[in-house]
């Protein structure tokens, strides 16, 4: 889903990190200048680059003074001196830094790339005709804007690196400020990925987003809208479906792209809302119970097939199918199944201006079948028999990068639970009054502006129609902003 899968030249933070960790003995790191306005290199001056000797430089990166010939080195030193004399006014900013990056003409020294660090902050400002209490039910996603005023949606620290020839590691640490003003820290993801398994296999293990569909495994700063689709919030909870476990993904040897993924993860906790969510929470008015793992059936299983076709050089289709099986905590034997189909289609002309223009269409449809256990009153008599609750929905969005660096988009959201009415010990339940199961329509329109790959400004309008709302309609407007600095993880297509 990379509307900006394009690259903008990434200065590897690892360089800095590498220098810090594996400090080059002959190159005492210059004292970190307290970030003065680093005089931007004057890129406009055509630098009369010195002609370069043909001899391929010795492949010894340690001695960066290994200039081809001594006279060449002398000449470059001289030039550096001239340059400093010429630049006159700015004395400290342009330190010649003789042992740092190689001078033009030498092969760039290799740097030990130990860790990539990135920091991303996503915030929103906005308001809605719905009051704040209702707004938090309309925008049920954990990263959705849910205040009249400002919302810190997601502040994320990403650390990743290659562990050894066999493994790489990734982690995402998320900070949020919740409605009470409390700062929450979450280990969103921390997992290893194998680099060298045979038979086109890849293993992932740790805490990670379940690979269901397209949106669930993605991070908020890569989303094309300010908020997540209604159906995602309903089936996967505020934070998305993620848990601890292992996943095996196989790139099939077929003549077209087809990847089969299977995973097994723990099915309990607040990040698995459709499964063994936290005891005391409710689903369709039924209070969830403690349900320990008794057999392999009490874990969460995923199957996913993702394929891709290029009908033309400029059009790519990525269809996928997903299925989830796991226990739920409404009873001791109850199960949940979730099925999904997704399609991503992107058109981008071969001759494009840094990724623009493009047209990207993404749709996901999902169905959850939730076996709700019978409800038993204190007397022991069954109040309400067991039921199969069906919830379904879809979203469909079209993004149009009409002119660099602008992207406009629309999204339609639909979600509903089968109309269900129960009599429960503490009153009656109706799906129409349940903000997580009522019938919902949402229409969203968005415009995003990307000053660079590393920042964005976004304006979105939402029209909501929700059964649970007393006046049924709500209009909301949000302004979102993002900054990202540090290394940048690769975009997915």
């Amino acid at each position: 889903m990379s509307i900006r899968s394009a690259h903008w030249g990434w200065i590897p933070l690892s360089l800095v990190a590498a220098n810090a960790v594996a400090a080059d003995p002959p190159a005492p790191a210059p004292p970190p200048v307290p970030a003065p306005e680093v005089a931007p290199a004057p890129p406009l001056e055509p630098q009369p680059t010195p002609p370069v000797a043909a001899t391929p430089p010795a492949a010894s990166p340690a001695t960066s003074a290994a200039s081809p010939t001594p006279s060449e080195a002398e000449r470059q030193k001289l030039e550096a001196e001239f340059q400093q004399a010429l630049s006159g006014s700015d004395k400290p900013a342009s330190e010649p830094a003789p042992s740092s990056p190689a001078p033009a003409g030498a092969v760039a020294p290799s740097a030990l790339r130990l860790i990539d660090i990135a920091f991303d902050a996503l915030g929103a400002a906005g308001t809605s005709t719905a009051n704040e209490n209702d707004l938090r039910k309309l925008e049920a996603g954990g990263h959705d804007p849910k205040n009249r005023g400002f919302t810190v949606q997601n502040v994320e620290l990403t650390l990743s690196g290659v562990v050894d020839p066999y493994l790489r590691g990734d982690s995402n640490i998320v900070l949020q400020i919740d409605e009470t003003g409390e700062t929450v820290i979450e280990l969103e993801e921390a997992y290893l990925t194998t680099l060298d398994l045979p038979f086109n296999l890849q293993l992932k293990a740790g805490q990670f987003f379940t690979s269901f569909g397209r949106l669930n495994p993605s991070h908020p700063h890569t989303w094309d809208f300010v908020d997540q689709p209604v159906i995602n919030s309903r089936l996967f909870g505020p934070d998305g479906l993620r848990s601890q476990g292992a996943q095996l993904a196989w790139l099939t040897p077929l003549p077209f792209f087809a990847e089969l993924t299977a995973s097994v993860q723990n099915a309990h906790g607040e990040t698995t809302t459709s499964f063994r969510n936290v005891p005391g929470e409710t689903v369709a008015g039924r209070v969830l119970i403690e349900r320990p793992v008794e057999s392999a059936k009490d874990l969460l299983y995923l199957l996913r097939l993702r394929t891709s076709f290029d009908p033309t050089e400029e059009l790519t289709l990525v269809p996928g199918l997903s299925a989830l099986f796991g226990p739920n905590a409404s009873g001791t034997q109850t199960q949940t199944q979730i099925y999904g189909a997704d399609l991503y289609a992107k058109w981008k002309p071969l001759i494009n201006d840094q990724g623009w223009p493009f047209l990207a269409w993404q749709t996901e449809a999902m169905l959850r079948r939730y076996q709700a256990a019978e409800v038993v009153a204190d007397s022991g008599a069954a109040v309400e028999p067991a039921a199969l609750l069906d919830d379904y929905g879809l979203y469909s969005q079209l993004l149009w990068g009409f002119a660099r660096p602008w992207v406009a988009g629309v999204r339609y959201d639909y979600a509903r639970g089968e109309a269900d009415e129960f009599t429960l010990p503490d009153g009656s339940y109706s799906s129409a009054r349940d903000p997580l199961r009522d019938q919902r329509h949402r229409f969203a329109a968005v415009v995003s502006y990307y000053p660079s790959e590393f920042s964005k400004l976004r304006l979105q309008y939402n029209y909501d129609h929700a059964q649970f709302l007393s006046q049924e309609d709500a209009h909301s407007v949000y302004l979102q902003f993002e900054i990202l600095f540090g290394a940048h993880g690769a975009h997915k297509f």
């Binding site: 290199a41 680059t49 002609p51 060298d196 394929t307 660096p405 600095f485 690769a490």
Partner: protein, 351 residues
Amino acid sequence: MTRYLIRLFAALSTLLVLAAVGSDARAADPLNVVATLSDFGKIAEAVGGDKVRVTTIASGVQDPHFVDPKPSYVLKLRDADLFLVNGLELEIGWVPPLLEGARNGRVKPGSPGYVDCSKNIPVLEVPSGQVTRAEGDVHPYGNPHYTTDPLNDKIVADTIADALSLLRPADAEYFATRKKAFQTGIDKALFGAELVDLVGGKKLDRLARSGELDAFLQSESSGGAKLSTKLGGWLAQMAPLKGAKVVFFHKSYSYFNQRFGLNVADYVELKPGIQPGPSHLADVVSTIRRENIKVVATHPFYDEKIAKLVAEKGGAQLVPLPLNVGGVKGADDILSFFNVTTSTLLKAAGK
């Protein structure tokens, strides 16, 4: 339902494994070479001949910085024996996800099948001191567009021949012969056949790189005539443009400009990857007028509207140049790339 689906999954897997076994014909010749960019694909074809089957990921008309990591490219890499990349972080936005998706140990960085073609290239414009993104899209390892110097393409041919010979030692001689022919072809096209025969390509290459070629050709003579009269090829054709001031859109031709002595007075892009502002564009226009610049060079994938406006306002000609082989019509291989580039520039400058 669950059990049924699992059974279906198992059946499907079995089917796919059978398909895999049936279609595994990779052990046979030729070597499957995948190149990120057309330039490396063409050089690999020149060196590898019929012992290689070459696939290129990005076509020559594309901006190599901005390629989507499409799943179909993962498939190409899955089956590759040799993977040729430009390096210097040019493809950092799209090669890492492709490599990770391909799960192909033969072309993993560190394996003999992963070849960074920037190896042994004398890199230009390596930033010194501190670099931040305040300067835009700065390539921390230096300018990555080194294939725009024909002499660098000879180094790439060496690199590719070495890699092929490592994978197929039995064919090493075949690759060496073809590489030599390719390199001689470049020398003759650059310096002229007569001069190459007189002096030798190796020596000319060395002199051109050290900047001593002109002095050498002036001082030496052969058969009563100064060697400078024997200079032919692109260098002789481009001689009228030596020292000429031009405006470029992006720092994409630094190697070319060094080789042929073009002098870039300004860039349309103030900071790489950041849209230029109007005041900078006005500056560029006044530079063009003040310096009487004839050529505003761009690539077809850059914003034509802005480049055109700058050229028009300044009274210069907008010249679309290829960045890689296939970038414009007629630039179909390494030699024709430079034929097209040099003749386009000469025509635009009225020489």
